[in-house]
């Protein structure tokens, strides 16, 4: 079972969910192989024919309402080829989940016009996505947003993609053909009982489609004012009698945005990505999935030599590369009696040079899970995990790590039981045990309660959970020059930040209350409120000054990471989905966060220098998906993000528009405008030595062809 499904596992309608471990599927080898053979032999002939037919089809399609068609007249083979929209499946599966979940569907993704994962996440209410420059983002959920946000866990097909050097995500490393994403599940609030440390403020889980669903060819080409080149070539086919595969190559070239002054910035980036996925039915009760990627990024950034602006700062353009790859394998097995096991392993590696620090990371992970129904009332999931991170961070111009190379081992075990107390009440208890090299053994428990009577359109849920953020290498071993302050004609103060090997886990105790409802047949609502108590939050404490000899004389002001800060946050998120007509869907969302960050009682001097505290108090969005005709889509989105508390930047709004038209059954052309409100917008400003740029108004066009 994919990691991110564990929380919602029991509430899914797993029969409809291909990523769920199920009794799967060796689909009639006879049928499918002969059908495939027929398809192969006939393909050449069928291309021109199907083009002609496609036109005829569309004409026929327009005149017939699918609901009026008497499907019982179709025979079984035809029925098996009918494409089914299952509006019910996701909503039903979510109805009983005791967590604040928002699902970004493939349709949302396609119609957003976004060209990268970061921009897709804007669609989830409560997720703050801020562009620092064209290839760096600050993304967080429920507070603490910065370039190096460290309280959200991100997974792709069960593979953790956060970086153990700072427990955050290099968003520009994440990319895939967006057409291949099945859905993105965004869970706001802690998920630590299932996913473990770092699933503190949220879990973002990306699921790609099975290769069964991406058979045939796909080619996309696009160009525009900001997205200079966009190209994708993919092919999916059969692998033997019971397997399928897809392979793809993708290239994206994004041009420079604008500096604060409005001139052309230096934040161009180009990305190449190749990948494959293969899915196999080994037997009626065994499935195997193998997935791999290789990517290479070339990025430009404007940097300053220190974290903080000072007269001694120098600005320079830095061009750097990042490259990496991963290989994931997952074996799902259904035991007699219907219980399901999943064994997953992956290897992931990247190298990059950030702030002059050459970094190499290698991760190996092994994960086992068993999902079993006990009696009529208990639904149990338990699992064991092991992960090894080997990281090497050599000295750079602004910072260094000590020790430069390190291997960390993580061991974990979890169990969660969902108990049906009565016809309408479910009670879920779970705990995760985790051992890490910094803070030893930890427990992360949670309790969840759901009320959802059969046939009711209303669901109420409540949850109480504890989550931890484990120290990362940055917290324990960094040495970074923060600022240089002139102190007289021949002396200068140097502020330097030091990691602390005795740093504690950051701890969250979180209480949530949620309500979901289908208010009418066309309008649904999801509302959540939360109250969060953080303690042992990381702050920086000024240590006694030291004099470093030399000319000019340097007065060293050491700052040490400590765990003395705390915070009380409360807020909520609201999202609505309104199918105004069969052709028009409108989805508004709103989120509110009130954060009070407190220094610890023993703090002094520069303490509480709030490294991680930025988050807008209010965010608002409306998306509208409109089918102008059967073949023409016109989609609009508006995102508004209020001013960050204490920051000087004003709030900012963003409008994206997309117009797309299908040409026959196989081709589509689209035009997308992004950031249309203003010629240039500052979203975030500078962050940790990166000099921010302005997002610019842009337009691109693209053509998609399936073959």
């Amino acid at each position: 079972m994919d990691a991110s499904q564990r929380l919602a596992a029991k509430h899914r309608e797993p029969g409809n969910d291909k990523s769920y471990v199920s009794t799967l599927i060796v689909f009639g080898t006879r049928l499918s192989s002969s059908a495939r053979a027929a398809a192969r032999n006939g393909r050449r002939l069928w291309i021109p024919l199907s083009l002609v037919l496609g036109l005829a089809l569309s004409a026929a399609g327009q005149s017939s309402d699918p609901r009026r068609i008497d499907l019982t007249q179709a025979n079984l083979e035809d029925l098996m080829n009918v494409r089914v929209t299952s509006v019910s499946k996701r909503e039903q599966s979510l109805a009983r989940t005791a967590a604040a979940v928002f699902v970004i569907s493939q349709e949302d993704i396609r119609r957003s016009g976004a060209t990268n994962i970061a921009d897709l996440l804007r669609m989830a209410p409560g997720v703050d996505v801020e562009q620092i420059d064209a290839n760096a983002w600050a993304i967080s959920v429920r507070g603490f947003n910065a370039r190096y946000s460290n309280k959200v866990l991100v997974l792709i097909d069960g593979r953790t993609v956060y970086t153990p050097s700072f427990s955050g995500v290099f968003w520009e490393h994440l990319d895939m053909p967006l057409e291949n994403i099945d859905r993105i599940e965004v869970i706001r609030g802690p998920g630590a009982t299932i996913w473990g440390a770092n699933a503190v403020n949220g879990v973002i889980s990306i699921f790609t489609k099975s290769s069964r669903e991406t058979q045939g060819g796909l080619a996309t080409a696009g160009t525009g004012s900001q997205t200079k080149a966009l190209g994708l070539l993919q092919y999916g086919g059969a692998a033997g009698q019971s397997g399928t595969y897809r392979v793809f190559g993708k290239y994206v070239d994004t041009g420079n945005a604008a500096t604060y002054g409005g001139s052309e910035a230096n934040d161009h980036w180009a990305r190449m990505h190749g990948g494959l996925r293969s899915d196999w039915d080994l037997s009626p009760s065994d499935t195997l999935m193998v997935e791999g990627d290789l990517f290479s990024n070339q990025q430009n950034q404007t940097r300053r030599s220190n974290f903080m602006a000072t007269p001694y700062n120098t600005f320079f353009n830095s061009n750097f590369d990042a490259a990496g790859g991963d290989l994931v394998a997952r074996w799902n097995h259904t035991l007699a009696g219907g219980s399901q096991t999943s064994l997953q392993t992956y290897f992931d590696t990247y190298r990059r040079t950030d702030m002059g620090v050459p970094e190499v990371l290698r991760t190996f992970d092994l994960d086992f899970q068993h999902h079993v129904a006990l009696g009529e009332r208990h639904d149990l999931v338990w699992g064991l995990g092991y992960r090894e991170n080997r990281s090497s961070l050599s000295e750079g111009y602004a910072l260094a790590f000590s020790p430069p190379s390190q291997t960390d081992n993580l061991f974990s075990a979890f169990v969660q039981d969902e108990i049906q107390v009565s016809g309408s009440w479910w009670f879920t208890l779970g705990v995760k045990l985790e051992h890490n090299p910094y803070t030893g053994l930890e427990t992360e428990p949670s309790v969840r309660l759901v009320w959802n009577p059969a046939g009711s359109r209303h669901t109420v849920w409540a949850a109480a959970s504890k989550a931890l953020r484990q120290p990362a290498r940055t917290d324990t071993g960094i040495e970074a020059e923060v600022a240089r302050l002139p102190d007289g004609p021949d002396s200068v103060q140097v502020v330097r930040l030091y990691g602390n090997p005795r740093i504690q886990d950051e701890e969250l105790r979180d209480y949530e209350l949620g309500y979901r409802s289908e208010l009418t047949r066309t309008l649904s609502l999801d509302a959540t409120a939360f109250l969060s108590f953080y303690r042992h939050l990381e702050d920086t404490e000024l240590q006694p000054a030291r004099i470093l000899p030399g000319s000019p004389v340097q007065v060293l002001l050491p700052l040490l990471f400590e765990s003395h800060a705390s915070a009380v946050d409360y807020g909520g998120e609201l999202s609505l989905n309104w199918n105004a007509t069969s052709r028009w869907r409108i989805s508004p969302g709103y989120s509110y966060l009130h954060a009070t960050l407190r220094d610890g009682p023993v703090s002094q001097g520069l303490a509480g220098f709030a490294l991680w505290s930025g988050f807008p108090q209010n965010m608002f969005q409306v998306r509208s998906l409109l089918n102008l005709t059967r073949r023409t889509e016109f989609d609009q989105s508006l995102y508004y993000t209020a001013r960050l508390p204490g920051a000087s930047l004003p709030g900012h709004a963003r409008v994206d528009l997309r117009l797309a038209r299908k040409l026959g059954e196989r081709a589509e052309i689209s035009v997308v405008g992004q950031n249309l409100l203003r010629p240039r917008t500052v979203e975030y400003g500078d962050s940790f030595g990166i000099v921010g740029t302005q997002a610019v108004r842009s337009v691109y066009g693209s053509v998609t062809w399936r073959f």
Partner: protein
């Protein structure tokens, strides 16, 4: 004759064309249920008279019963019409030939399963493990297309004869 052939071809083509669209899950499942009835033979004592309808029991929301009723109204298999019944709360048995169990009602089905055994009911579910747990037919998704698995041992226990055609299109589960 030629005219009739042409008409049939045309009707067939229209249907094929129409099937290119996307359909609601339960409309398609309803059509599958109708087809299952064509390819399953119940034990001779199941029907008292040749006019007895094939009763489809529904464990699930009322909307589902309506969808099924619309789909099979006026239809017949070997002269038998269809009737659709929603199972009331707490019912432990089902006076039906086909029982559709929505995924939301799987727990209820488990509590009924003992009472249903040996009553020659074609149970149809839509949850993983349904067939492995003794259900006869189970729907599953392969992408956005529907597939089904058949537990041939369960069918045999219920005295149901499933045609080889249906089996050839299904994934066979044994238990």
């Amino acid at each position: 004759m030629l005219k009739r052939l042409r008409f049939a071809a045309l009707a067939g083509l229209t249907l094929v064309l129409a099937l290119q669209g996307q359909f609601d899950e339960y409309h398609v499942k309803a059509a599958f249920l109708y087809n299952f009835a064509k390819f399953v033979e119940w034990p001779p004592q199941t029907f008292k008279t040749p006019q007895d309808p094939i009763v489809i029991g529904v464990l699930g929301p009322s909307s589902l019963r309506k969808t099924l009723e619309e789909a099979v109204s006026g239809k017949a298999v070997e002269g038998r019409k269809f009737a659709v019944r929603e199972l009331e709360d707490g019912a432990l048995r089902c006076d039906c030939q086909i029982l559709f169990v929505a995924s939301s009602e799987r727990r209820r089905f488990r509590s009924m399963a003992g009472g249903l055994r040996g009553t020659a009911i074609l149970t149809v579910g839509e949850t993983p493990g349904f067939a492995a747990e003794g259900g006869v037919i189970n729907f599953k998704f392969e992408g956005d297309r529907l597939r089904f698995e058949i537990n041939v041992d369960a069918a045999e226990q219920e005295g149901l004869r499933i045609s080889s055609k249906l089996l050839s299109l299904s994934q066979v589960v044994r238990k």
